[in-house]
Symmetry: C2
Subunit: 318 residues, 2 copies
Amino acid sequence: MSYLIGVDIGGTKTSVSLGNFRGKVLIRRVFPSEGVKATLSQIKRIIRAYLARYDRDLKRTKGIGVSCPGPLDFKKGLLITSPNMPTWRNVPLKRIFSRSFTLPVAVDNDANCAALAEKTFGAGKGVNSLFYYTVSTGIGGGLIINGEIFHGASNDAGEIGHSVVLPEGPKCNCGKRGCLEALASGTAIARIARERARRNSLILKLAGKRKDINAGIVAQAALKGDKLARAIYEQAAFYLGLSITNVIQIINPEMIVIGGGVAKAGPILFRPLVKTVRAYTWPRPYRSCKIVPAKLKDAVGDLGAISLLLKRFHLGAV
Amino acid sequence: MSYLIGVDIGGTKTSVSLGNFRGKVLIRRVFPSEGVKATLSQIKRIIRAYLARYDRDLKRTKGIGVSCPGPLDFKKGLLITSPNMPTWRNVPLKRIFSRSFTLPVAVDNDANCAALAEKTFGAGKGVNSLFYYTVSTGIGGGLIINGEIFHGASNDAGEIGHSVVLPEGPKCNCGKRGCLEALASGTAIARIARERARRNSLILKLAGKRKDINAGIVAQAALKGDKLARAIYEQAAFYLGLSITNVIQIINPEMIVIGGGVAKAGPILFRPLVKTVRAYTWPRPYRSCKIVPAKLKDAVGDLGAISLLLKRFHLGAV
């Protein structure tokens, strides 16, 4: 059996998996992300331990894949900068890991990796074109065309969180107005709830303090039937739905996959979302597009990094 | 020298060109479209006349390309139906022309053909990814990815006219609300002008009667400095600009090409349009994307049909 190593560097935690060509994770370690040096050292230590245990003479391990926040230059494997990890600047990830391990290294941003993971091992198996949404603190996306990540002219394809769904809408962190992220992200859901929850609201009871309201608490309240919480999720779902409509009208993909923490809310998000998409999209491309929740869980980043290796180095059929 | 035949079947007129591999049109005939039978017979007569004159023994002519309104099944070469040509239903164009001429035949819809024509012979030469807008009575589009037409799951990729740019906006002919076509097409521009032009307005003077106001007249009035006409074009440009922003954020193409009758208005449309795109799009993908008017003129459909042949049958480099 051959192995692939998948590394997922995130704003709060980093994970390293040893997996096989079929996307089975054999062993996985997670630790809190720290500064650049400490995090990279810890990743290397974990990889060395895996190799010592499973593949001492490096005969079966075929590569290291790395998923990390963007923007980055995926060809050079260079993390340029990241809003959530400000100390990570111009980090030549590919060079660093190639030198340490003399193995092929592939790097891509987290949303692209998750999209490819879902296409390779998850909800999108066998599908040629899909658009992946990750709806959590922010909203990101990845575009799969002809089975491959489509990067675009400046590696910014898939940045759906900053498409405009409501002209003159609320201000977004990116400086623009009416971005999807400002209307449907976890941050937006929490912000709206903090603004609107009354003193005796269930949302406030569950959170304790107004400032502790987050999207998960709003989802909890919605599940318990709280009207405001439901309305907030319906509104977020409406804008997400409009965005999906636009992706379908423009790209006509076979599938839309929705992942990220906010998607865990389930039907309180998906039901109104699908209703909006059905209402606003032409019938034929709507019927040709499955809209599904992401299938892969915590290790989606690690598996994305692994699926990158399979694609970039043509490491056999999956 | 080898020849390719390009046929462009439109709602009001049909054209047939004999061109070469470099997109030079050697001879072109245009006639008013009629019923299915009459139009097809006339196309065949013209092709026979070309062959009799230029290629009697069919040694140099390499194929027939056909551009026509959609929706269609481009693989089968079957025109399924068309809102603007209601008598054209399930017309097996590929079979009809293959049988008559024993030549390779390629068929695609008009917006896709125009997109590929601009990529092959026009504004997009050398570009790998572009999105083509045709802004006229309606708004259509074509998506070029990795140098090829991207058709999507149900041949509906590129239907940008029915992406939503203003939730709860004006009603569109397609039955939805807030579609780009309902806000920025020639029909929308004329409708808004008919609603808003005052008795002594320049628009009304140029048109004569209110019902005769069209987008071209509004453009004329705008060029002469009429404030209402300018405001109407600015508003249309704003929504077109938002749509372009979304295409750039989602696909990050190298180029946006804008064709169709409304694009002929020039700077009164392009200046506010580019201003909107710059304001709403992230700087890096914005800088990576050229926004340009279409370069090909009347024969864009014929050339699109010809460029289809070059792609589908790998008929040599252009």
